[in-house]
Amino acid sequence: MEKWYLMTTVVLIGLTVRWTVSLNSYSGAGKPPMFGDYEAQRHWQEITFNLPIKQWYFNSSDNDLLYWGLDYPPLTAYHSLLCAYVAKFINPDWIALHTSRGYESQAHKLFMRTTVLIADLLVYIPAVVLYCCCLKEMSTKKKIANALCILLYPGLILIDYGHFQYNSVSLGFALWGVLGVSYDWDLLGSLAFCLAINYKQMELYHSLPFFCFLLGKCFKKGLKGKGFVLLIKLACTVVASFILCWLPFFTEREQTLQVLRRLFPVDRGLFEDKVANVWCSFSVFLKIKDILPHHMQIMISFCFTFLSLLPACIKLILQPSPKAFKFTLVTCALSFFLFSFQVHEKSILLVSFMLPLLLKDELLMPSVVTMVAFFIACATSFSIFEKTSEEELQLKSFSISVRKYLPYFTFLPRIIQHLFLISIIMMVLLTLMTVTLDPPQKLPDLFSVLVCFVSCLNFLFFLVYFNIIIMWDSKRRRSQKKIS
């Protein structure tokens, strides 16, 4: 593409922002005995390097599962092992068994931050660049603006480079999967997505849209001929990639079960901490956690989750298109986040306001800066304040249908504009309050709960909004032969 140098500039800006954020503190810095996610990652390097594979997920005298036991799928473990080899080369003290617990030093911080940057550079950033370059019906300038906004997304930067995690790897693989599947490289796409799931089980949130989209493609090709062949090929790819990743753990049934138990802890309750989840917000009014028994909680969350994502998925099977696929990814992830069981706030990397978490890590300045930058980048690139006609909000078909029943329903864009403004104002106010004021004595969690509540309302709105777009998108698209 002719503006390669602008794209390079954008990537360099993204990298600069990432590294400057990483100069700040990480989670659990200087807070014994448990420290935080940074120590967890270091501990996993220690475990995977010093212990044989069979002991990684089991409790033993060398591997205390209560002290940051491994609870991600095997690919994370292999990645930690790779980092551990490099760490051994530089300074073996960093991963010495038992004695390196709580190890903190400037050099070590530099090493860990570098591993995040390299992982990001190898997996996530190329996926973003390729994704933006392949977008159709867009001028080059718009593509580059897209890339800038995606790369400046504060949630990912703050969690990966501030708090310390490796989400960019799993998100990167998932994005490769989306790319592959959208441009008919189905096998490679599903391979990439399997790698994503095997890195973090959180990606299962996106698995249903992938499944429905690919199934829809098979149906479209005809189940008697090419479609069936495709289905078989996809099934083989998925099974093969899973076997490849889990090979050392398939030797014994107990191994596999233990790993599954670590990945999906169903013994815990409906929610923990303050999450912008429906259950957490609902508990402001009604304490569900205490009223209902454990298995009922699981059933209810299961039902709600699936009911909320069913319409979009069915539509995707019947009319597979890359555009519907992308929207369904969003809605499914939102549904899972809002309604499912035992959600952590970090699971929401789509639209997130993880303010209390970031304040705990003393990342106030980078959070403010990156969020403002992201907002300004998006506002400037996409003129969001100008494009508020119905056409541009993609709600034309919906409002036409509604106007059949309510002829005066012409004020939808203005409603949305006002809602947007209200939500922004509320978020700014809440941020200011959380930072400057102390909560009243009787309600110590007031601000965190309020933030979660407001965020939950926002997410619910978006869930409804995107579902509307998907459902009402049908007739216009089918009549135009183009697939976007």
């Binding site: 990298l15 600069t16 400057t20 506002a379």
Partner: protein, 526 residues
């Protein structure tokens, strides 16, 4: 809502650029800061806690006040804001005090005072004509100039990481240049006089201002062939200029004259006890001179032409600021450097007098004065290259020739700033920002001038590309070799010499282009 939309939409790219770079500066707050941080904290303390009579005598800290009085007043004003952040930093005896609030205050003060720089850039953009502009925003000269100035790598590194207050000082300089380009001579002269009393390093470019104002402002008309019309001399203008300079100087130095402290002030401002070169050689002519001397002495020892006992111990880049003698070539005195500088400036000043080309000619002369002083000055800091780089940005979006010289000067000049940030966490930042600026500047200027011949010949391309391997060698390969202990000065030495070659070449090319330009009467555009 609509107004916000218009502000945020495609129309106001300048605000977006300013906001973007300001946010980046905020992200740079927790980076490494040099001893200059303590210098400025100390000056805050001195101006706040002590009476004026003590300002230039105070020596509790080694970082004594060595900027002119206006800067001291500036620190005094800042100190009144500082006391709301952390009272302790204003204590003269709190050496190396760097609490979190102090850091935040100092960093924000730099970011905040950069507002003057932003305004100056805005004014400079108004002086650029957009005749060559394409329809694309990113191809307009105004846009490119704004990015080259606002996102200048050197300024970001020196001001917001290393820690200095160059932003608003260069803002004053660019504003005075802009005023002269807009033919508002009195304001330009006033701004420059004020600037001189903020930081006296701008004396380097004073000859350009003096000769230009004399020639093109005091002599109000030219003969048709471009030479001076002696009877058009305006005494009024000369007197008013003189009055401006006199009043500004009186305001600045007056109090110290009254206290009979002028000799002390001047001894602080011009400390000639320091050596020919800074601890890390600025990439100027003397760096090449020193390098030649060193090479010759090594060869001389090897071929037994010199007695090894007579050679002074220790490399000249050992990190200490001291006086030293050259071994083979004749030693250099401050007077010699002054004479060399004056000889170097003379041709450009003569050009300004005999072949005036209006305000553009003045700008070229200014850049040449700054560069020549950089090349031949005594105890030049590598940061002084910014004095030439920033004004040159204004020329670079005008002609392809100037763009090519600008790119060579800027890339090598910026690379020579690398040794300022020697800590490991800052390594990715300086590399990323350097790549960002270099790639953007080269590709945007190439796109702007794509209809003319290519900007670089093969030799220049090769030289610029050579910076990459040099960096890899100095920062990644050398520290792991065995030479690190015995020849520890080699990375600095190589950087200095390599950049000196590039900067000398750019200086030479610019001189040639100025001397061979046709005079004003014969060019159609003025």
């Amino acid at each position: 809502m609509a107004a916000l939309g218009i502000a945020m939409g495609g129309g106001n790219w300048f605000s977006a650029l300013v906001l973007g770079v300001t946010l980046l500066k905020c992200l740079l707050i927790p980076t490494y800061h040099s001893t200059d941080f303590e210098v400025h904290r100390n000056w805050l303390a001195i101006t706040h806690s002590l009476p004026i009579s003590q300002w230039y005598y105070e020596a509790t800290s080694e970082w004594t006040l060595d900027y002119p009085p206006f800067f001291a007043w500036f620190e005094y004003a800042l100190s009144h804001v500082a006391k709301h952040f952390d009272q302790e930093m204003l204590n003269v005896h709190n050496l190396n005090y760097a609490s979190a609030k102090t850091l935040l205050f100092q960093r924000f003060s730099v970011i905040f005072t950069d507002a003057l720089f932003v305004y100056a850039v805005h004014e400079c953009c108004k002086c650029i004509d957009g005749k060559k502009a394409g329809k694309e925003l990113t191809e307009k000269p105004k846009f490119i100039l704004s990015v080259l100035l606002l996102w200048n790598f050197g300024l970001l590194i020196v001001d917001h990481i290393h820690f200095q207050y160059n932003g608003f000082l260069f803002g004053l300089m660019l504003l005075s240049i802009a005023r002269l380009l807009q033919k508002r001579h009195m304001e330009g002269a006033f701004l420059f006089a004020v600037l001189l009393h903020f930081k006296h390093i701008y004396l380097y470019v004073a000859p350009a201002y003096g000769i230009y104002l004399l020639r093109s402002y005091c002599f109000t008309a030219n003969k048709p062939d471009g030479s001076v019309r002696w009877n058009s001399f305006s005494f009024v203008r000369l007197i008013s200029l003189g009055l401006i300079v006199f009043l500004v100087s009186a305001l600045s130095l007056g109090p110290f004259l009254a206290l009979n402290q002028l000799p002390q002030v001047f001894s602080r401002l011009f400390p000639f006890k320091r050596g020919l070169c800074h601890a890390y050689w600025a990439p100027n002519f003397w760096a090449l001179y020193n390098a030649l001397d060193k090479v010759l002495s090594v060869i001389g020892v090897k071929w037994k032409l010199l007695d090894p006992n007579k050679i002074p111990k220790g490399a000249m880049t050992s990190g200490l600021v001291q006086q030293f003698q050259h071994t083979v070539l004749p030693s250099v005195t401050p007077l010699a450097t002054l004479i060399c500088t004056l000889i170097a400036i003379l041709p450009s000043v003569f050009c300004l007098w005999f072949k005036p080309q209006g305000s553009r000619g003045f700008l070229r002369c200014l850049i040449l004065c700054a560069l020549s002083s950089f090349m031949f000055g005594w105890h030049v800091h590598e940061k002084a290259i910014l004095l030439a780089v920033l004004p040159m940005s204004l020329l670079s979006v005008g002609k392809a020739e100037d763009a090519s010289i600008f790119l060579i000067l800027t890339t090598t000049g910026h690379y020579s700033l690398f040794p300022l940030l020697f800590t490991a966490p800052e390594l990715p930042i300086k590399i990323l920002l350097m790549l960002l600026f270099t790639i953007y500047s080269i590709s945007s200027l190439k796109t702007l001038f794509r209809k003319e011949k290519p900007l670089f010949n093969w030799m220049e391309t090769f030289y610029l590309l050579g910076l990459g391997p040099l960096e890899v060698f100095c920062e990644f390969v050398f520290p792991f070799t065995s030479w690190k202990l015995t020849y520890s000065f080699i990375p600095l030495f190589l950087t200095s010499v390599y950049c000196a070659v590039g900067i000398t070449y750019a200086w030479f090319k610019l001189y040639v282009s100025v001397l061979t330009d046709p005079p004003a009467g014969k060019t159609k555009k003025q």
